[in-house]
Symmetry: D2
Subunit: 311 residues, 4 copies
């Protein structure tokens, strides 16, 4: 998970403070630049942020013009905005992360198009020899019911064989990457008589559990959208691990907005038109079953998991 | 151009400084929150910013990994990025403005879709009685050669009549707006026996030179794109007036990036394939005219205005 | 609501058909180009479309690779995608509208940034003399409880006065617009001895109920987002009138996707974490009141309007 | 490069034509759905398109209102729009591709955020055993002068060793992928006594030259931007191979727009402020050298490569 030497030097140099008239979130300042470990070699760290809870309120109030209220009502206003999906005031806060993550997770992550990204370029530089190895508890078997999910945890010989293959293949591919480049990760030429393959080509030999890193900058509204999808129990464990760390950071940064996000989105749920009808019938005392619900068995299971309809 | 009472109070309260470990641009700090006048009642002021020239360099260098260079090379790197249109590092800086502008200009401005916006809502609140009146020197006549442009300046009786009409119509429409609302801008009910039209409807009676205001937040790459279009001589004077003020602010904020923007984009020019051929022929000593250039008269005029081809 | 002469000619010429191998929605073809009236002078018409329900399914199935299923399951798959907010397959359909609408509504509309837009330019051309006058039934009074809404309908003398003011002001401003331009809407010079103000300036004298028009192109996912906000009962009547017409068009275009949109989004509802707890308690037989609900009075009213909690 | 069986069946079924009133590009219709081979196993094929050259003109003319001109002037108008970077009319055309490409190229490609994408999901399905092997002529050595580029072509034993490594590693990793899944690409269980690792995990063992595929939909303006970057000589050969094929497709689709794109962007060039000054001085007869140019050696080389300044 280590930062490289240069990044460490940067963190140190940045312990110095400067006066600013911009909004400052004191408790976040302490955590700036410091990497939070994720998975085996990954991390998330905050590089910069713009705005805080009051920036959301300020933006909402420009819309409301003269009808500006007291600070004591900030929390209520933020909850109102979140509840009614008035998203633009949340766009007024911005945050920039430095993230180190496995490439197969980076490929999921990048599908969120509303962020600014600068990624380490393996066209330009040599990738470090760091690859993701799951912890034993994360070695899930393929779920039969959910094509995108995991079921049990692999055990015994089968698990051991998986670890062996992942490790050997990543190491062998990396070693051949260096051989093709004719250069080690440290920048030493291997054989003076060879020319070395272009970096933009040699990288294709690496496995997808290699780590990459990027700067990733996003506004709070779009970050909440990302987190609502990636902190969800249906998200792949490896990306959820990042989302979970980021949730804590956001909580520190904009506590009112975070609280509203938890209440109305992260732990809320959506009812369909039929779902509303069913719950209404149940509240009026009707006994509802899948058969008389009008829902497919699958939708019925989803609704029954949310609310005690079969009481 | 005045801020309202609340905004003034905000500026005062914000003279206080707080320590931060984030990048701080000292010379910009002094100018935070202070409105720069534009047109007769408009303004631009910076509310917040994220990053500085070093943030651009930092983002570029994550791409280049271990190949990080010395700070002394920052200027050169930024110029390289701008010249080769590597735009993503510029997206790592963000700025937030508070802008007051006439509605017909706001309608042009909002066409730039890559910004975050919160506008004063005339559905919710009553618009102030402030409308744009051009200065006499800006009262351009319709250009015959350019359907989108101005030619001379209106003079004498014709100019006087225009000022009279603009003023009378804006004032009358505003006065009727209050009458329909049954409420003055100060919030006083006009006639206890009337109900008043909904604000979301009454606003349709206002003329398009009324002022509105908004928070507008954008990253540096997209801001440069906006400025390259709106600080251009073909842009309408009234939006150019805002762009000109913002150019100065950007220069203060990210001096290296601004310098590169001026050199490579704002004062640069694009040559077409035929344009390159013509200039090459001319440099080799050939006498080029519109007739032998292969360009239309219009394109020839554009190129001849840029370079002394007819020497 | 009339198309201009040129547009009419275009509609006629386009009655011709051509063979294509692309997906064709037969029932939509008949309606192409034909304007559907909205408000007094506005319209919406479909100019082009790309894809249909099967394009959504096709895109979803590329994700699922070899696991492709039978066409009979298309409807179920589309419902699954909508229910679980898998939005990218819906982005594979695209539609292009030609819309004529009042400027104060266009200002709301344009806040949706994910569409492509080309608007009639009053910098370049003279706007037609067409302005929106509400129907008597739409002349709402300002709501006291909702700053953004309407309450009753204005009656009698107060209503009559509003109509008079709206009409007179729009007409007078338009007439002065022509006078300043020194040109009528038909292109006739008014006074040979005057020069005429530039169009880009004269337009500022017009009132915001003037009609404008634009081409507006958007993908189905973002169109659903737009419609869920603008066909909502909290949206201003004048924009809802457009949304309602567009809902019918979308229903014709992609019937399965539309049905799923209605079920899961348009007529669905969101429960907060506390809302889920309350409904669970009520389903278990507990008597819930605002006081013991943990909700603010406002949130309680919203929930009680959705579900019969007070039974 | 083969389509799978299902895709082939689809192409056949789609030879049928249907009548439409939408714009149809006859010569493109013949090519719909048919894959154009790229690299060893990749392809690009057009799945759908919306609009043609006349759609660009139509959108531009709504801006110009009544000033509509004759069809004979379409070409000139499109050239004007391209020259002056009026980009919105080009956004009115949309195209949808189905593309099969190596994953390390997909990672570059996806950085263009303004497109709609649905990618084959290796969380859900098993990836086919297809990986990219460069042709011998493409086996570039690392450039010393350009960190992102290739210099010579590897020869003899060193080249042979690269091919051997790429092939062996890709095959071994794939074989172990199947072993971990406990399932072959054909869907056969390998060992009834094992459970098999989840697909979302096993995929991390694959090398980055594996092929993936996606639907990719984009408007013409953003496609031109993509092509101007990716058909450029500085782009990596493997992505340029796709861009080159797509250029031909766009030429067929919107011939006027394509011609203008070639003239003004693809084969045009940008001059900096200093560049304009230098060329002006040279045209006036001054002898310009790097030393008196005011340019860095690198910028001087770039300019001298464009124009015969050293004549």
């Amino acid at each position: 998970m280590a930062l490289n030497a240069l990044q460490k030097q940067e963190v140190d140099s940045l312990s110095e403070t400067f006066p600013t008239r911009r909004p400052v979130v004191e408790s976040l300042e302490e955590k700036l630049y410091t990497p939070q470990k994720v998975l085996d070699h990954g991390f998330v760290r905050i590089i910069d942020y713009m705005g805080d809870d009051t920036a959301i309120v300020q933006a909402a109030r420009v819309s409301y013009g003269k009808g500006t209220k007291q600070t004591s009502q900030d929390r209520g206003l933020i909850r109102y905005l979140m509840r009614h999906r008035h998203s633009t005031p949340f766009e007024m806060c911005e945050i920039k992360f430095h993230i180190k993550l496995p490439i197969f997770i980076a490929r999921q992550w990048i599908r969120h198009r509303t962020a600014n990204v600068n990624e380490y370029s393996a066209r330009y530089s040599i990738l470090s020899k760091e690859f993701y190895m799951p912890e034993p508890a994360q070695l899930g078997t393929q779920s039969k019911s959910n094509n995108q999910g995991r079921a049990n945890v692999l055990q015994g010989a089968e698990a051991a064989r998986v670890f062996e293959l992942l490790k050997e293949d990543a190491e062998r591919c990396y070693s051949h990457y260096e051989e093709m480049l004719n250069e080690t990760a440290d920048g030493n030429v291997i054989d003076e008589n060879r020319q070395g393959l272009a970096r933009e080509l040699a990288r294709m030999n690496l496995t997808m559990n290699m780590y990459t890193e990027w700067y990733w900058k996003i506004d709070l509204h779009n970050l909440f959208h990302f987190l609502s999808l990636r902190a969800d129990s249906h998200a792949q464990y490896e990306i959820r691990a990042y989302a979970d760390v980021m949730l804590e950071m956001v909580k520190e940064w904009v506590p009112y907005a975070y609280e509203a996000f938890e209440e109305y989105r992260l732990h809320g749920a959506h009812l369909s038109r039929t779902g509303i009808e069913i719950v209404s019938r149940a509240l009026k005392g009707e006994k509802i079953t899948q058969e008389n619900s009008g829902l497919t068995p699958r939708e019925w299971r989803e609704l029954a998991a949310l609310l005690p309809l079969e009481n």
